[in-house]
Point group: C2
Chain length 168, copies 2
């Protein structure tokens, strides 16, 4: 009669991280084929006051690990944002995937009513688990994956919508 | 114990369309303040082979109406993609919001197991309602809203992440 909180979060996040990994593999190959320094893509941004590619990947990772941990009621691991190469970004994605894999459906049971508190610059915000998942974690997560994709497309990398969506 | 298919779709789509409407209002005001023809933004793209702003909004609308209709098992309305001004794009968003509002939770009950068939260029694809929502409709919808946002940010429009997320 419905979706479990687990179904609506962990496998969706994992799947999109796999798609992001595939997009970054194509970007790395594209840089090599065109004789472009990988750093050009990794430091590229769509506007001077938007984050570059590496940071978009790091925030997508943060949103995924934060979502899993907060819904399960465990501490969110803190990871340094030091990735500066395609290899290191792939490592960050793999580490995030492994973290997601450590959760099972039982840990997220009833998480739609769990209180999730976020510390924002403007103060603390309190959500139900459901609102946190649907109105904060997922929109943010998709935002940063799409931003990473858009930075690469803007730089002429030959990725398409099916790379973003993955096999359907 | 979980999310209903309705909760995970209709209010989320409606909310993000409201946010998109707010972003387009800021873009229109920004064009006026900077003495830029609105068409410059409306026809702007991040890459020569990516869709311009107007088309991003139209596809976001298509994803929203398609998602609601397919999950409820009713025909997807066909709308011409003729919007070429901020006013017309706002009209398209309002029409989509009204369409979403016409659905109630009962119509989407059990839609996670409903078979959804999409006609793609590559042939027909069949999904469960759950997979269609989580792995096709929502990623696509967020992709095109984020692309619209990114086109405007790239053009120097003063929108920020909170415009994308809406009040949290």
């Amino acid at each position: 009669m419905s979706l479990s909180m687990y179904e609506a979060s962990i496998p969706v996040l994992a799947r999109m991280l796999d798609n992001l990994s595939g997009i970054l593999k194509k970007a790395e190959a594209n840089a090599q084929a065109r004789g472009i320094e990988p750093k050009v893509f990794i430091e590229s941004r769509l506007a001077p006051d938007m984050f570059p590619l590496a940071r978009q990947v790091q925030i997508a990772s943060d949103m995924a690990k934060g979502c899993a941990a907060r819904l399960a009621g465990v501490d969110v691991p803190s990871w340094d944002d030091t990735e500066a190469s395609f290899e290191e970004l792939q490592g960050r994605i793999a580490k995030t995937r492994d973290f997601l894999k450590s959760f099972d459906a039982a840990q997220l049971e009833d998480s739609e009513t769990r209180t999730v508190v976020l510390k924002m610059r403007s103060g603390e915000i309190s959500f139900s688990g459901r609102d946190y998942l649907l109105n904060f974690a997922m929109p943010n997560f998709y935002f940063h994956i799409t931003a990473a994709y858009a930075i690469l497309r803007h730089n002429g990398v030959d990725v398409g919508k099916m790379d973003f969506l993955g096999g359907v």
